[in-house]
Amino acid sequence: MKSIINYFKEIYFGLKSLVTGMRVTGHYITHPKEIITQQYPENRDTLKMFERFRGEVVLLHNENNEHRCTGCSACEIACPNGTIEIINKKVDIDGRKVKALDTFVYHLQMCTMCGLCIPACPTDAIKMANTFEHAVFDRSKLTKVLNKPGSKLMDGVK
């Protein structure tokens, strides 16, 4: 007798637990405003990343095509993966040979977005941009030159 009661008890509590679960999911079917799914490629225009989001390293240029990078290689030393390569050249300023930036090579495929290069920079020349769509068809396209052609050092930056 006892086993029969237990049998029906188990069925009752089992069904009750299933109904409790269904009530939670049913609540969200009837309240679609509480669903937080975003339709990603469609909302590209309105999608705004947070200001601190680390997407890729960029070298900042002003409207006169001038940057703040002196070519000191501090970011290259701070980088754990060899992502940044600084190639320097010698320029004549008032008859003196001075070291200056020639090419700022950035290997995006090796970058782990750790952000160690940003505080290492003494002149605040680089920052992390918010872009995140980095997929390309050819791996060689991921190696980028960050200083724009013809750009030069901003006045007064040492």
């Binding site: 679960g21 939670v24 601190r52 750790c114 160690l116």
Partner: protein
């Protein structure tokens, strides 16, 4: 004639591979099962499919650069891993970090633990055949990853700690967002019980399955919620407090059954404890600097240091040997996943294959943590 018949009907053990690509191993873990029908006689984990030699890489990096490598080990509790390395380096430098840093590290560490447990809850349901829980777990986790993205700059591999403090100060919205999340999640956590904890199918599949006694948990070196479900009191936050854990009131969640359901309950209760720890600290973040200045090139004196912390999976330890150079001579990581995996054979013996999925799920294995 009789001899031939008995030979024909003789049963024999056979072997199958579970993994390296299997949805319930959550990564590239290969288990060689020796089976008698559907009964498991032996489980032999074969690891090494995602070995990246992180310990060796540490020997070539400076102390600031080591921190970001620990993100890639137990990626679900990466902030706590970072904290362990920073605490070990600070111990070597005998550096006192500001109170503000300690409190912020504790809050973000607890948020990390919450997000890890939410993901585990969702995935655990999915392993046992309930896809709904996966979506619900990720819904609540999304709010935490937003907090991380705004303050730390990344959603998963945050790298927010540096030896001496934090990389930058918390975002002005941090406190408001965290309070919003606590209010939201306190309403949603009872839903977890309605959906899964009290579900009849789930209970039948977890209660009494994969038993681990307290003695076995200690001898296999199991730590974290998996060991606390067997009654082994091993919470590093309680016994060896670091950061701001000595200032907050919380209780160590303990169960005595040691089965899958006890491990499940332990983690659910830990979420409540984490919420209460964050609530105690979020309004009391002291003012002050967010970093103690260090030299650009950190050189530890000659010596050895060990620091352990409590991650979402158990005890994570960092052991640094320095010869006085700017690189460590040797770094050893004690990862909780590796020791927890060693108890799998003991727990899964003489149970069914479907039970093995439940056991692995409640151990909460993260494979990159095991292989390093």
């Amino acid at each position: 004639m009789e001899e031939i018949i008995t030979k024909e009907l003789e049963s024999q053990e056979y072997f199958i591979n579970m993994g390296p690509q299997h949805p319930s191993t959550h990564g590239v873990l290969r288990l060689v099962l020796s089976l008698d029908g559907e009964i498991i006689r032996n489980v032999e984990p074969h690891i090494g499919y995602i070995h990246r030699s992180i310990e060796k890489m540490c020997e070539h990096d400076s102390y600031q650069q080591i921190v970001h490598l620990t993100d890639r080990m137990d990626y679900l509790s990466c902030h706590i891993n970072n904290e362990a390395v920073c605490l070990a380096v600070e111990m070597g430098l005998q550096l006192e970090v500001p109170e503000r840093v300690k409190v912020i590290r504790t809050i973000i560490g607890e948020l990390t633990r919450l997000s890890s447990h939410q993901l585990w809850w969702g995935v655990m349901g999915m392993d046992l055949g309930a896809i709904t829980t996966f979506l619900y777990g990720f819904r609540d986790r999304e709010m935490i990853t937003d907090i991380f993205e705004e303050t730390c700059g990344a959603r998963l591999t945050m790298n927010y700690n540096v030896p001496g403090g934090l990389m930058f100060d918390i975002h002005p919205n941090f406190q408001k967002r965290t309070k919003d999340f606590i209010a939201h999640f306190k309403k949603k956590l009872p839903e977890y019980d309605d959906l899964l904890s009290n579900n009849v199918i789930f209970r039948n599949r977890t209660i009494g399955i994969g038993k681990l006694s307290k003695e076995d948990a200690i001898s296999y070196g199991v730590t974290g919620p998996s060991a606390r479900a067997s009654g082994f009191s091993c919470d590093v936050r309680k016994h060896y407090p670091y950061s701001a854990y000595d200032k907050v009131q919380f209780k160590e969640v303990l169960r005595s059954e040691g089965d899958c359901y006890a491990r499940y309950e332990c983690r659910i209760d830990e979420m409540w404890e984490s919420l209460s720890i964050i609530e105690q600290l979020i309004d009391n973040i002291p003012e002050g600097p967010f970093k103690t200045p260090t030299k650009a090139v950190i050189k530890l004196p000659k010596g050895e240091w060990y620091q352990k912390v409590e991650t979402a999976r158990g005890e994570f330890g960092v052991y640094i040997i320095s010869e006085g150079q700017k690189n460590p001579y040797r770094v050893k990581f004690r990862s909780p996943g590796f020791s927890n995996l060693s108890a799998l054979n003991h727990m899964a013996k003489d149970s069914k294959i479907a039970d093995l999925v439940a056991i692995m799920s409640t151990l909460d294995l993260v494979i990159p943590d095991i292989d390093r």
